[in-house]
């Protein structure tokens, strides 16, 4: 175990960049002991976050979310399905998460990223169990037709905290969603109602005239933290995630109730106190994210 000591001796004479590459962990720990991170953030602060709604015109609802340089594009397309016999009054939400090869040097075409199915499962568990969407609102004609909302999230740039950015883009896309106006034709199929038809008086009336928006109750927001020794680092970058491996992802809803807590192993054990600290950080973050989302939505309404 001569290495850590050797690095200490060398650090005085080595260039910063070389030191960072050769001894990444020591490089980070030096910063942490000064309560700062290499990108000049305090330990508990998340990166700058932006949301822009309506990025994709070919979708019924879409949003682009950026946390630092991690970028996610989420879009929803609405299709019609026949509801199942057990729940004739409910629609369905199908969630998928993609990491195309453009997003990171690790992903190559034909070899999907390991992280993608994990994040996809987490997302679909979180969104469906948080009760944000009332599936009954997706019903069109009881037992005959209901909406199937296909939510696809694409990672355009992967730089850590993928789940946080993906969830943020997903809830933003749902709040941007405009359900198309449809009516039932004589063959029992659901068809679009166009602008001209709306003005004419039609024998087949639209079935969902006043149900163009979903009511989102208790929106879930998340924060991923790294646990390393006694330090807690909020919103890690890809580099930090690769060096310090213990991650905790917390999801709280807008009224700060716990939706999920996810700690996929890692060498550091989370003490109760550490988990409580993480919850406190997440609480702050939920307020920030709620404000950012509200601002994005109100910006849309002015336009």
């Amino acid at each position: 175990m001569g290495l850590p000591n050797a690095s200490e001796d060398l650090s005085a004479e080595m260039e910063v960049d070389a030191f960072r590459r050769l001894f990444p962990l020591r490089y980070f720990e030096r910063h942490l002991s000064e309560s700062i991170r290499p990108d000049a953030r305090p330990l508990g602060r998340a990166r700058d976050t932006t949301i822009s709604l309506g990025a994709v015109a070919s979708a019924d609802g879409s949003a682009l979310a950026k946390i630092g340089s991690t970028t996610m594009l989420a879009a929803i397309k609405m299709e019609v399905m026949t509801p199942s016999l057990e729940s004739p009054d409910e629609g369905c939400v199908s969630i998928d998460f993609h990491m195309p090869p453009i997003c990171s040097p690790i992903v190559r075409p034909g070899r999907p990223a390991e992280a993608a199915p994990v994040v996809a499962k987490q997302l679909s568990d979180t969104i469906l169990s948080s009760g944000m969407i009332n599936l009954k609102e997706l019903s069109l004609v009881s037992g005959k037709a209901a909406w199937m909302a296909y939510l696809d999230i694409y990672c355009l740039d992967a730089d850590g905290a993928l789940f946080d950015a993906a969830l943020l883009s997903a809830v933003a896309a749902f709040s941007h969603l405009q359900i198309p106006v449809v009516s039932l034709d004589y063959d029992g199929k659901i068809v679009m109602v166009t602008e001209e038809q709306k003005e004419e008086n039609l024998e087949n009336q639209p079935v969902n005239k006043d149900k163009r928006k979903l009511t989102l109750s208790s929106i879930p927001f998340s924060l991923t933290c790294i646990l390393h020794k006694n330090y807690i680092l909020a919103d890690p970058t890809a580099e930090e995630e690769s060096i310090m491996e213990t991650l905790v992802t917390l999801v709280l809803d807008s009224s700060c109730q716990l939706v999920s807590l996810y700690k996929p192993g890692g060498p550091v054990l989370a003490y109760t106190s550490a988990v409580q600290d993480c919850i406190a950080l997440t609480r702050q973050r939920v307020k920030e994210l709620q404000d950012i989302l509200d601002e994005a939505i109100s910006g849309m309404e002015i336009d």
Partner: protein, 276 residues
Amino acid sequence: MAELFLFEKQTQQNLKKDRMAAKPATTSTTYSPIDPIHKTRPPIFSNSDVDWLRPDSRSFHQCRPAFFRTGAVNSAAGSAYAEFGNTKVIVSVFGPRESKKAMMYSDIGRLNCNVSYTTFATPVRGQGSDHKEFSSMLHKALEGAIILETFPKTTVDVFALVLESGGSDLPVVISCASVALADAGIMMYDLVASVSVSCLGKNLLIDPVSEEESSQDGSLMIACMPSRYEVTQLTVTGEWSTPNFNEAMQLCLDASAKLGKIMRSCLKEAASDVQE
């Protein structure tokens, strides 16, 4: 929103893959609601219909406004985002990096290209995956412009993702890819600018949108290096008369020259931003 569905092809079934649904999907078939009036599309041109306005009210020989921005993806060596009307693409370039182990030794560098579509890129969900040939066409369009000798034994990866398909996707991907390659500092003889022309009846429409592409009689696409006046790729499909063909080619070359200038100015701007 309604316009989006106007020209939708009705019969095409979308590809469905296994997905995580909220509950086990008892009925796996879903469909997009379709506007019943425009089921059968009226012919865009009758014989002497010269006053026809294009869907985005351009004139026949006018391109959509082009927008490029470099540095769209931080984790890539170079990247670019391009937006032509509703066509939006991102291209990332990785490398030069180690070639796959199975590859034979090579004195010159390798180029590896991939083009994919998002599931929501097309009006009907999941239709974008029909364009399997785009990857190899992108490869062939760029190959001639890159100085492969400058990175022997290694591979440069060019990955494109079409975020939204609004027509002329491949030309936009090719132009965007060459900006991304320049952003990554890969040596090239010149930027590759690409433009396509659709032939509808007697009329030539430059830089067609999806609706025009779906009703075209023929199409011509040129990828060229404007400053060297060299063509790297020329694709012609459908029915063409010789005068029409000559006119279309001249149109494309002129438009590529202009497009090349826009691409160049985008790169210059990015470079001057770095210096400041």
